[in-house]
């Protein structure tokens, strides 16, 4: 080699060194190597390959001057392949082959390849003794690789190695910075709202195009179904298309790859180059789908689970297709981190939602009138709402966390007969049971549900309803008794009158007929009272107010009562200067008849019964007093309750429907008056009707 040639070579190497020094990005470095570098080496073509992240493959980064679809055919091949670049990467030693025959002998796989060109040189790209790639140079003519030539190629490779390693480091750093920026933006987005559906959609959008050409987020539905939450692509038309595609070709749950597999296993999938087999599995025999997939040009895929607290909530899929570079390990790590952050955000949002729901439920339970008690399977109290505290007399703070039998010793007897429903069933009817607390008897309606992890009981204090029910059943007994007695007289008198085997005296006949008449009236009166009570309940009683002569009404009532007055009773009317009043005459008469009837009934040993009328203010007072049994003070208000009877067992022989005084008070109050009682047991009672001046 001449001095001139040596100088020229040195100059070319220097030129390459200058260009490589200026190149910053890996692409700029590759361009410099494959143009000036190849020229400096006097080669016809050149190619650069690097080891994949996993060290298993060689990825061809760029080429210059090779004919045919070399990138498609040799874009990615195993390090273990019997190929020049693979061998150099494995050995770390440069390879110089001068002839085609020699090349085809050494690497028979290449014998089928282009036969043009003759010599090749493959040089390791290494930094600090570590091989990370190789540079291949092909020469148009046969080259004898003497020492100088070899040294020149090795020097070129060294320069290329350093420049490429530096630029890759730079790219890595830049990539890292970009990823950190992306993660920061994503984190901010994920923490911006508790509506994780919204934030995940925005996240998918954020990932495009910096992280992927396509980004999809799928969630695991409650029934194990796959729910597509988001699809993002730069082109909205393609997004719409993707949703249609998902609808037409939903993923098969048993698919061995992709979202179904990731959701099932909770393990990520990473394919720098999507294997044909995976696409084939997804496509199946559907030619339409095959065409679509071909058009999409899916190249590289990452599918990572959204996992929080051991549960796979969904999957994040990133796909590189038309623009994005093939995914690297760094992209995969970024996707894992992103998915982790998204999963935590989803989990937090769900937990918050559940906590809020729990808080709402607790707030609702705080206001319901029914006591609600939640027990775990060890019968320990988990919830005790204010109504439960009110019914049992045990505060929530004293009940929570303790066995319920300790909190309320009567609990077993309270709940032992309560059938437990299962969640989702129609439930069971509450069982009403007595509960004695501090000597007071309550009636509590209890129902329960066994939900597997514990039991929830609803308690309702039905003491008042129970008392009303008892009163009502007493009424039925009383009313039937009250009806039976006059009915017996009417029926008995008729049956006796119709007897043909005996001859009745005229006196007896008359007595029987009078009996029929009076007992029929009594029946009518009882039925009338029951009906009137019903009308009062339904607020269907109409008043007909007019000016009435009160003294005349009272006098008429006394006169009627005198007809069948029991022995030992005397009646008297005192009307001092009271004459007219505005009222409903019939209703007031009914009140006086009831009060007088009661006065007589409750004077079994006789006595004086008086009606006294008195002016009071603009209105008047009507007093009905007797010298009868009297009313204990504890009963004085209750006697006005519907169906309430002073002597329900009728041991004192006093009958009645339990409606008379209820009707009296209701009618008086509808006339805007007031009915009260004053009484002393054994001495007698005085009922006072106070009516206003005008209605």
């Amino acid at each position: 080699m001449s001095i001139h040639e040596r100088e020229d070579r040195a100059l070319r190497l220097q030129r390459v060194a200058e260009l490589l020094a200026e190149a910053v990005t890996p692409q700029e470095v590759l361009d410099a190597i494959l143009t000036e570098g190849v020229r400096a080496a006097e080669a016809r073509a050149g190619a650069i390959g690097v080891l994949s992240d996993d060290g298993e493959s060689v990825e061809l980064l760029a080429q210059q001057g090779y004919p045919g679809p070399i990138m498609e055919d040799w874009g990615l091949f195993p390090v273990s392949a019997h190929l020049p670049m693979s061998q150099v990467m494995r050995s770390g030693e440069p390879l110089f082959i001068s002839t085609l025959t020699e090349r085809n002998e050494l690497f028979p796989e290449l014998a089928q390849q282009a036969q043009n060109g003759s010599s090749i040189a493959v040089l390791p790209l290494a930094v600090e003794g570590r091989v990370f790639g190789a540079m291949a140079l092909s020469f148009a003519e046969k080259v004898e690789f003497g020492l100088e030539r070899r040294e020149m190629k090795v020097a070129l490779a060294r320069q290329a190695s350093q420049a490429l390693a530096r630029s890759r480091l730079f790219a890595q750093e830049q990539g890292l910075r970009e990823r950190m920026t992306f993660l920061a933006e994503a984190s901010e987005l994920l923490s911006s709202s508790l509506d994780y559906n919204l934030t995940l959609r925005q996240l998918a959008q954020l990932a495009v195009p910096s992280l992927a050409d396509w980004c999809a987020i799928d969630m695991a539905g409650e029934e194990g179904e796959i729910v597509r939450l988001a699809v993002a692509h730069q082109d909205p038309e393609k997004v719409r298309w993707a949703y249609e595609l998902q609808e037409r070709y939903p993923p098969k749950p048993d698919q061995q790859h992709g979202v179904p597999q990731v959701l099932r296993s909770g393990k990520p999938e990473f394919f720098p180059k999507i294997p044909e087999a995976i696409l084939e599995e997804a496509i199946g025999d559907d030619e339409g789908l095959r065409q679509i997939v071909d058009q999409l040009g899916l190249r590289s895929m990452i599918c990572v689970p959204l996992t929080a607290r051991g549960r796979t909530l969904g999957a994040l899929t990133l796909i590189a297709a038309e623009t994005h570079a093939t995914y690297t390990e760094a992209d995969f790590q970024l996707a894992l981190e992103l998915a982790h952050r998204a999963a935590v955000a989803v989990d937090n949002a769900r937990l918050y939602g559940e906590a809020e729901k729990g808080a709402n439920a607790a707030q609702a339970l705080a206001y319901v009138a029914d006591g609600v008690v939640l027990l775990d399977n060890d019968r320990v109290v988990l919830h005790w709402n204010p109504a439960a505290a009110a019914i049992t007399g045990v505060e929530e703070s004293h009940a929570l966390g303790k066995p319920v039998d300790e909190v309320v010793p009567a609990w077993p007897s309270l709940t032992s007969h309560v059938p437990l429903a299962r969640p989702g069933t129609s439930g069971t009817r509450p069982v009403t049971v007595p509960l004695v607390l501090d000597g007071t008897e309550l009636w509590v309606a209890v129902s329960g549900v066994d939900f597997g992890e514990g039991r929830v009981y609803a308690l309702r204090d039905v003491t008042a309803e129970h008392a009303l029910e008892k009163t009502r059943s007493d009424f039925v007994a009383t009313a039937s008794h009250e009806l039976r007695t006059p009915l017996a007289a009417v029926y008995g008198a008729v049956r006796t009158l119709r007897r043909e085997d005996i001859e009745l005296s005229d006196e007896d006949r008359t007595t029987f007929l009078e009996m029929i008449e009076s007992e029929a009236l009594r029946l009518s009166h009882i039925v009338g009272q029951i009906l009137l009570a019903g009308q009062l309940d339904a607020d269907a009683v109409e008043l007909s107010v007019a000016e009435c002569n009160l003294a005349e009404i009272a006098s008429g009532v006394i006169e009627s009562a005198s007809v069948h007055l029991p022995e030992g009773i005397t009646l008297d009317l005192s009307a001092d200067g009271v004459s007219s009043i505005m009222c409903d005459e019939n209703k007031l008469r009914q009140v006086l008849v009831n009060l007088l009837d009661n006065a007589v009934k409750y004077s079994p040993d006789g006595g004086h019964v008086q009606i006294r009328l008195e002016r009071a203010g603009g209105g008047c007072l009507i007093e009905v007093s007797d010298e009868g049994l009297g009313i204990p003070s504890s009963e004085r208000e209750r006697i006005f309750e519907k169906f309430y009877r002073l002597d329900p067992e009728q041991t004192k022989g006093v009958g009645g429907s339990g409606l008379g005084l209820y009707i009296c008070r209701e009618l008086v109050e509808r006339m805007e008056g007031h009915l009260s009682v004053d009484s002393q047991p054994g001495v007698g009672s005085r009922f006072t009707v106070a009516l206003p001046a005008r209605l």
Binding site: A477, S480, H481, E482, R484, T485, L487, A488, A489, V490, Y491, G492, A493, R495, T496, R499, D501, I502, L504, D508, T511, F512, M515, P566, P604, D605, Q650, T651, K652, G653, V654, G655
Partner: protein, 126 residues
């Protein structure tokens, strides 16, 4: 009145009393073969009269047929416990009352008093 007319038609002699106290006095004085006792009476009610009669050696064996509008089981048991031999619930047909009394007395003579007593609580209304 209804019972009196119909019992007399069956050839029985009838004594009447108005109220519990008066009835007790008549029973002690006359010692009738059978007493038809109304439960609901002013003053001393039928249950009290039955108790008094049972407590009195001279009247404790007089058979009592309760006559009442109270038809529930608790009242029937009360009648049984107080030693009644019959329980007539209103309304009843007074035409057959003579026959009923005859039947009760016949069965008592046959020594079936205890069965009659126990029958009160199990008999149906009527």
């Amino acid at each position: 009145m209804l019972c009196r007319v119909n019992l007399r038609a069956s050839g029985m002699e009838v004594l009447e009393a108005d109220g519990g106290q008066a009835g007790l006095e008549v029973a002690r004085r006359e010692r009738p073969d059978v007493i038809l006792l109304d439960v609901m009476m002013p003053g001393l009610d039928g249950w009290c009269v039955a108790r008094e009669l049972a407590a009195d050696k001279s009247t404790k064996d007089i058979p009592i047929i309760f006559v009442t509008a109270r038809a529930d089981a608790a009242d029937r048991r009360k009648g049984e416990q107080l030693g009644g031999v019959g329980y007539l619930v209103k309304p009843f047909d007074p035409v057959g009352i003579g026959e009923l009394v005859d039947d009760v007395l016949t069965r008592i003579e046959r020594g079936e008093r205890e069965q009659l007593r126990r029958g009160i609580a199990t008999e149906h209304e009527g």
